[in-house]
Symmetry: C2
Subunit: 424 residues, 2 copies
């Protein structure tokens, strides 16, 4: 049906879903998980068709791998839904309650945000993740995946809807935008009053496009040009472990480090050790001083790749085995660089100087500021939120790793005994 | 200076303001209040010029009154700033803190939202209110008032900035957009990355214009097509007091009632009493059944004005001595009407049937739902928030009466001891 009608039907379904209690929602989610288990064959053959089409279309292997599903990945999808069922219900909580001087009793309660729309790229598992998270939060959701994954998403969504129905839930609260038409996205982004939040999930270009064009509320996620500042007071072996972890463990993650800022006083001791640690694995893009500190150390580690950093290196999210290195003279210079070049995601200071750590944490404008830890911990799972909706890099409504709360809002319930307002 | 430069200067000032502690901010605010007191003559003569110009331009008296300042209103402005200084500091609060299984210590702290911009109409007191609220929350603010109040706003802003400076504060955190050029507003609304929130304050058209055109986060405020549902179980004298209060005490307020929904079972008893209570003061726009119930009662109160309601009456915010009346057969019919015609502001049920009250509170989609109380209580002051930023009718970021918290966001502070992430 046309998207406008889909929105209206989602709104209706959401009103019903909002009245379901936790055990009803969890039962429906577990039935959906079982339904995907039961539909393995259909899901895998649909996915095979997508993969085949993508290969014929000349899609890069890395992207094909994102699209690809096998038994293990289907298992993970099913486990993900079960995890969401295990999460606390984010709605129906009384966040605050008080009596006013007039004797009115006011309660601030959490309620579902409403109708969500997620616009994402080729990973089919996002279909199950997003549907289950929204359902648990009492939100109806429109799933707008990439056309490359259309067959997979159709099979997964069909299984979820059938499962929700079988589990006594509201199947109409989950819909797939499957026209494959690109106009869909613009229609979603301009659906004021019908879509309460749009969630872009994917690469830089997708997120930009959504953020620039949205007429509905958006939660911007994922862009991470993250920094680690190695203070003069840093413990070098510890700093090497943290920088290696933040860069190498998963370079494609948004919380991976892209630029290391090194205090000039520690440069000559730290850089040769860093070069030795990353040689053959990571390309360094150094400013003049840090480059000199590497070569100045006499022996040059085998397989080390060092380039001269250019201006763009300070703002690019490499998502690759590349690390920019810049020399700074003080914590304030590091902070100035981070606030100018960063994406407000995750920023770390390594060192043992308490004043510098406090200055860094207070002055750096980012969702997450770290002292003596890897930026890789910025993650809903690591934070203990269970499943994660994404990592918000905006300040409005939600910031940092988002659990289910990001899909809720509040409602004030006010109880009186015939109260009327006096005065003016 | 051009607005772009103003934004950059506000951003710089905000970074400094964010580091001020509560006593520094309060001292600056109290000095600003004193400065307005000292600048009374200048403020009043500037306002006299605005009023004179407005009268010559043929502005309606009601609007001229909004623009007009006298000693009493200047006193109120000064008191307002002192009230804000008395409020708790909304930033620097640790909302939550926990240790992760890895032993990382995570704290969720409140921080200022950043740079705010308020776009408002002729009331000059909004200049002082908004400036002081933003300052207290650690936000820099751009004030974009109506050109009709330009001289008044210039005088007030000059006094505030001089006072902030004298009080050791950051005068550059408050700026007035005083070009009088309408392009200003579009420039504000498209200043992504420079403006963290835009606050429209004024009539329907202003708010619509801002919401429809904003490229920056917006908090939509003020539109209130509020309803009161008089259930069959209502106590009639109490219901009459509440409806009268909600309609008559301040008809121009957004929390005033515009439509009363009456349960058919109580119609014949309630309507004649309501007509008698409001005769000569409020025009009724009734559906057929409620109109018949009025006239059917035999004697027709002197001065009563009753019209047949037309479709538009169900969606219009009269802001006047006009009340629409509709007959419904059940609480669900009342809820359906409210969710279709309301503006998600404030909705009330009057009665003694607990199930109906619970159904109403759960199913009505609004910022504030009332049981046996007047909708006029939806107000930051009445809620106990001290000063108020406005009443949000959106679900995103802030909902209902907004205190200073609406101008804050959060930052996660994570402390480790050399923590690196294991696994995948």
């Amino acid at each position: 049906m046309p998207l406008k009608e889909t929105f209206l039907s989602l709104k209706k379904a959401q009103a019903l879903l909002a009245l379901q209690n936790r055990s009803q929602k969890d039962a429906a989610l577990l039935a959906a998980a079982a339904a995907i288990d039961g539909a393995r064959a259909a899901v895998l053959s649909a996915n095979a068709a997508d993969v085949e089409r993508a290969r014929r279309g000349g899609m890069k292997d890395a992207l094909v791998d994102r699209l690809f599903l096998d038994g293990r990945r289907v298992d993970a999808m099913i486990e993900g839904i079960k995890t969401v069922a295990d999460l606390e219900d984010p709605v129906g909580r009384v966040k605050a309650g008080w009596k006013t001087p007039d004797g009115l009793f006011i309660e601030e309660c959490t309620v579902p945000l409403g109708v969500a729309a997620i616009i994402y790229e080729s990973r089919p598992n996002v279909t199950a993740d997003a549907a289950s998270l929204a359902y648990k939060a009492g939100c109806a959701i429109l799933l707008r995946g990439s056309s490359a994954a259309l067959d997979s998403n159709r099979a997964i969504t069909a299984a979820i809807k059938q499962g929700l129905k079988a589990g006594g839930g509201i199947a109409e609260a989950v819909e797939l935008a499957d026209s494959g038409d690109h106009g869909d996205v613009d229609e979603i982004l301009s659906a004021r009053g019908l879509v309460d939040v749009a969630l872009p999930r994917g690469g830089h270009d997708l997120i930009r496009r959504v953020v620039e064009n949205a007429r509905v509320p958006v939660i911007e996620t994922g862009e991470g040009n993250c920094h680690i500042f190695v203070d003069a007071s840093a413990d070098i072996p510890e700093a090497l472990d943290i920088v290696e972890n933040a860069k190498v463990q998963k370079p494609g993650a948004c919380n991976a480090v892209e630029t290391v800022l090194v205090h000039r006083e520690i440069l000559s001791a730290f850089m040769p050790a860093l070069a030795a640690r990353l040689a053959g694995r990571v390309e360094l893009r150094c400013d003049a001083a840090s480059k000199a500190a590497v070569s100045g150390s006499g022996e040059y580690p085998a397989g080390l790749r060092v380039k001269d950093a250019v201006e763009e290196d300070w703002t690019e999210e490499f998502l690759d085995y590349i690390l920019a290195v810049k020399t700074v003279d003080s914590v304030d210079q590091a902070i100035e660089h981070i606030n100018r070049c960063g994406t407000r995601h995750s920023e770390a200071i390594l060192g043992n100087d308490m004043k510098n750590a406090e200055t860094f944490c207070q002055k750096v404008d980012a969702a997450c500021v770290y002292v003596n830890a890897s930026t890789r911990f910025t993650d809903g799972g690591m934070f203990g939120f269970g499943a994660e909706l994404g990592i918000s890099t905006q300040k409005f409504h939600a910031r940092g790793p988002m659990g289910l709360d990001a899909l809720t809002t509040i409602k004030y319930r006010i109880s009186g005994r015939g109260h009327i307002r006096g005065g003016q």
